[in-house]
Every structure is written in structure tokens, then in C-alpha cells.
Symmetry: C2
Subunit: 344 residues, 2 copies
């Protein structure tokens, strides 16, 4: 159905029906000048925003509408998780070109509501407007965190171990495979069977914010700094070291990379290391922990969350810079790649 058939307010009514009933803290839901929520006593309110723009963050030929919604919400939830918080309430602003149908907007919402529901947060407002050309999905999300559990990018200390959840590079590998398929640079018949890259495809299209792992990790009390991997391991490690005023050394052989990513790297003519360092959007957690933290503590937290945690390096004094250690002990400066908007 064309958007013009039901208009702005008809669309808003339909979208509101897709939203589940709200929890008790929501005093005023969508449909007023603003939503109103009751903040939990004794917690800090976290605030984050991420915007996805067509042709920059997604392409409608590669990502379906539900993927676009899922990814927009997941990126925000991941930011709240990386502070040690739980997501609360989302505001969703969508700019819609006139070739988007009512059903497609509903799919975007279904994708957002899918990951929001999984992570226990509500969509309680936003804005729905026309766009002359490109589809834009802008999400702002609140969260809450007990002050003593909050972890920022700033707390890394010299001597800390550097750790990461899950595996890296998969999202970028999945995207590159999807692009290849979309651009049909190969006959479809020549593409490898789905089972060679189904997991990395899904890693890209439907990332799962590491909310539970983050909660378990901050409860150990030994996490000093944390970030979610959205710009690639190298770029995000630099965010931590810049904010903390330290340097870092990571060990190349310890970076966790799964088999499908390794396979795809070869297939795509790149290296798995490049995908992990510069790929981004893995939404794993990169964090530093006290050097004297009991080795079992992290494993236990990871096990509770059903994820691996891998120690990949250590924090060093700022003057030693950001370096990567090769398998035979050679140390090189870490090149910061990753996506940079407007990058020249």
C-alpha cells in the first residue's frame, strides 16, 4: 500500500499497533508531544543515538527492510551494553522516500521490535517524515546503569589485559559476500554454497548486541574500560587508548576469527586479519581488565553469557604506542583502518 493512501497519521497509527505493550515505567507512550518514563531510582540514565543512511550504511538491494530496522536498533543497544547498561526506551525517526510502501515501513519496525524485544527495551516515540530520495533510520536510545557498574572507554590502565568477546571480522566478511552476490560479478552458480558463509551472512544482517555478556562482565568488578567493536578492532582499541591516555599491544595470533571468516577472506582475496582489524560492525565487546583479575572470573562470566572471551593483548604506556605482535615476536605499529565518514 502506498504511504499516500493512509498519510502520516494513518501510518503512525499502524506502526503503534506493532509495538508490544509497555512496561510499568512508561507513563506516556507514543502519540503525545513527548513520551514520559519513570527513571529507576539510584541509576544513571544513558543516552545514545545512531543513524543509518541508505547507500552509506545499507543498500536496499542487499538488506531487506527488516534487516535495516534490526541493524539500526542493534547498533544502539550495543552502545548501551558497552557502557555496562541495560537498554530502556527508544525514539525512532524515519525519513521515507515515496517508493517505500506501508508494509515495508512495518517490516523496518518489525526488525527493530525484534531485537528490542530480545533485549528488553521499548520503542516509545519518534518522528515519521517524507524524504526526497534516501531512506534514513535514526534511533535514539536510553539505558540505565548503576553508577558502580558503568564502564567507559576511559578507564584502561597500564598493565591491564585486553580482551574481546566472540569472534571478529565476520560481519564485514558477510557483507562482502552479500555485495558479491548482489553485484553478480560471478554467476550465481559459481557462488559457493550457503553453508560456507551462512553464519557470517547472518552476523552481518542480524547482529546480536552482547548485552548479557556485558552485564556479566561489569558484575565481575574487574573491567576497567569497554567499547563495542563497531569501527574494527584497531579503530576501537584506539578509541579506548586515546580516551585513557595509554598505549596497547595486541598479539596477532590471538585475535579470535571463525572458520567462515577465514574461508571468506581467502575467497575474497583479502586476509582474515584485515577483516578483524578494520571490518567493524561485529558488535563484540572489546575491554580491558585488571592484570591481577583471577583468570577464572572472565571465563565464568563468558560461560554464563554463552560466549567466548579471548585475551588478545595488554595495555602499555602511551609512549609505546599501539602495536601488534607477530607470531615470531616481531612488533609493528598497528595501522588504524576502519570506516571513517568523509574520510580523505
Amino acid at each position: 500500500m502506498e504511504l499516500s493512501r493512509i498519510g502520516e497519521f494513518g501510518l503512525i497509527d499502524r506502526l503503534q499497533k506493532l509495538l508490544p505493550a509497555f512496561g510499568q515505567p512508561v507513563v506516556v507512550g507514543p502519540g503525545d508531544d513527548a513520551a514520559a518514563v519513570r527513571p529507576a531510582a539510584g541509576t544513571l540514565t544513558l543516552l545514545t543515538a545512531d543513524v543509518l543512511v541508505e547507500h552509506v550504511h545499507f543498500d536496499r538491494g542487499i538488506h531487506d527492510y527488516e534487516d535495516i530496522g534490526w541493524r539500526a536498533m542493534a547498533a544502539n543497544i550495543s552502545d548501551i551494553a558497552a557502557m555496562g547498561g541495560r537498554p530502556g526506551h527508544a525514539l525512532v525517526s524515519i525519513c521515507l522516500p515515496d517508493d517505500v510502501t506501508v508494509e515495508q515501513v512495518e517490516e523496518i519496525y518489525r526488525g527493530m521490535a525484534g531485537v528490542a524485544g530480545e533485549c528488553g527495551c521499548d520503542i516509545i516515540g519518534g518522528d515519521t517524515v517524507a524524504s526526497p530520495r534516501d531512506l534514513v533510520v535514526s534511533v535514539a536510545l536510553t539505558g540505565e546503569v548503576a553508577e558502580e557498574h558503568m564502564v567507559t572507554r576511559k578507564g584502561a590502565r597500564v598493565g591491564d589485559r585486553i580482551a574481546v568477546t566472540g569472534q571478529l571480522g565476520g560481519s564485514q566478511a558477510g557483507l562482502a559476500m552479500l555485495r558479491l552476490l548482489h553485484e553478480k560479478t560471478l554467476d550465481t552458480g559459481a557462488l559457493p554454497p550457503a553453508e560456507r558463509w551462512d553464519r557470517i551472512r547472518r552476523r552481518h544482517l542480524r547482529p546480536h548486541p552482547r548485552l548479557r555478556a556485558a552485564q556479566e562482565l561489569v558484575r565481575t568488578g574487574c573491567v576497567h574500560s569497554m567499547i563495542d567493536v563497531s569501527d574494527g578492532l584497531a579503530g576501537d582499541l584506539k578509541h579506548i587508548t586515546d580516551r585513557s591516555g595509554v598505549g596497547a599491544q595486541i598479539e596477532r595470533e590471538k585475535i579470535p576469527i571463525d572458520d567462515q571468516t577465514r574461508w571468506a577472506a581467502e575467497y575474497l582475496g583479502t586476509t582474515a586479519l584485515a577483516l578483524a582489524l578494520s571490518g567493524g560492525e561485529d558488535f563484540e565487546l572489546l575491554f580491558t581488565v585488571a592484570a591481577d583479575a583471577a583468570p577464572g572470573v572472565l571465563d565464568q562470566a563468558a560461560r554464563k553469557a554463552g560466549l567466548n572471551v579471548t585475551l588478545i593483548g595488554r595495555v602499555q604506556p602511551r609512549k609505546q604506542g599501539l602495536t601488534i605482535l607477530g607470531p615470531s615476536g616481531e612488533e609493528k605499529p598497528l595501522i588504524i583502518g576502519g570506516f571513517n565518514h568523509f574520510s580523505g
Copy 2:
């Protein structure tokens, strides 16, 4: 300077320098995965979002960059004011085409910071991304309100008087004059002197949210429902009556319209009434008050805020619908015009 010269993170650094120092409730400012603020004890948190899209909400030929920033922030603050709240913390997501310079992005921020500073709120985070074609400015804003002072669209009661602050139609009249100038459909020499339309021009380009008036009004305790006029008097009155399950009658002759708007209506070949009913973006407050409220109470609140308040009608039972009373007592259905995204 081109954005590509300093890149995404260089731009973020420069923008952060434009932001004033934060108040005590900000625990983590921009530059982390999320910002963190300490909610005021005993208040509700308000949440609102508005997005402005080039060619839909503004045109770079008509609006300068500072106007665009001002208007984006003002629209959000106005929503918080209309709930009876005070604005708190803003997240700003900007999608930038590559013809926008660093200095122009700074102007957008200066505009936002201008009205934010005037209204006592801070910009504490957001997202800055590339856009293939159109400039998009998406703002999400928190606010706080004591629960007993919160006023929604929902509380209008049969018998309430309907009132509005300031004057209506000026923003739309100012925009139409700006468009005329921009399109050069007339020789510039033939355009009327600036003093005939300088105030409505400014009404459009630099709207001032009625924050102080809203605060004074909710403190009287007799305001039952409230909305800010963003879709035009008729459309916004309908939002109140729909949500409250009531009807309303307004008196045509009582709608407050200033001289420049009346003059511009004639000049533009329309009526001042049409501008007031359907023009929108006046960001005045439309509200209903208890019929037995002492007449002096509203005047006193208005005087404190330096604004006029005009009684323009009354709330009637739903079955009597939305009507407008002419000068000789004739009653007609109120036509809902106003801007509707995707409207067919």
C-alpha cells in the same frame, strides 16, 4: 574546509569544542559509547525526537545553516515545553552530503547551541555520518517534569476553555515570503520593504519555544491539556480532541493574528485565517483550561512569561465535532488542513 580534510573524528572533536560546559547532572559527555546523566529525583523523564530533511523541512537556498540547527533544536524543545517539562539533554545525529563544509556544520551546531543555551539544555552526544545527497538533522531530546505538572494532549474536558499563546500563522507567512524572494518570481525591487515582514520572517527562521509560558501555565494547576502548534491550529486542536475523546468549537474572530501576518496574507493572495489554521510551526502553546479557572490566573501567567494568552473557544461533547463559529454566529465544520507527510 572540506569534511574529507579532517574526517569523521576530526569533525567530532571540533563540534565538541562548540558545546558549552555541562551542568552537574552530566556524568559522561560526548565521546563515549553513550552519554550518562543523573536523573533528577522525583521527576519523570520526557523523551521526544524530531528530524528535519532537506527539501522537505528546509531548503539551503532559504534557510542558512544556523537557521537549520536552530529550528531542529527549537522543535524538540517546544515538544518538551508542551508537556510542562524542562529540556535536559539532546542527542544530535547529522547526515552530511559532501558539499557541506566543516564551517557549515559548525554553523548548524551554533544554531542548535543558541536555542539550547537559551532554554537551558545541553547537547551531549549523537552521530555524524555521510549522506549521499540530502542534509538530514535528527535531534532527540530528554526533559524532566514533576509528575503533578505534566500536561498531555489527553486531558481536555467538556466545558474547558480553549486558549493559545502569542499569535498564529506568522511562521507560515514568513516562509511564504522567503520562498517568494528565493524563487524571484518578482523582481527583488518589487518586493515590499523588510519592515513589512521582518518579524514573521524571524518567526519562521528563529522560533522561540514557549518554555517559560508553559512553565507558568502548568503551575496554575488549571491547564487540562496542551500541545505545541506545529501542524497548524486546526490540526493540533484535532490531536487534542482525538486523544481526549471530545469535540471543540473555536471562534474565528478571536484567533490571534498579528499585523504582519495579515498584511502578508493579502500580499500572498491567501487569508490570514488559512495561515493560522493550517500554517503550522508557530510553536505557540494550544491548551484547554478548567472553565471555572479564575480569569486573572491565565493573564498573570502570561504576563510573567511576557506573552499574550487568548481564549479562542471551548471544548464540547465529541458528537458536536470540531467547529468554527463565524462573526455572525454561523457554525461550520473546522477543515483540518496542515502539512501531512505522504499526504494523498
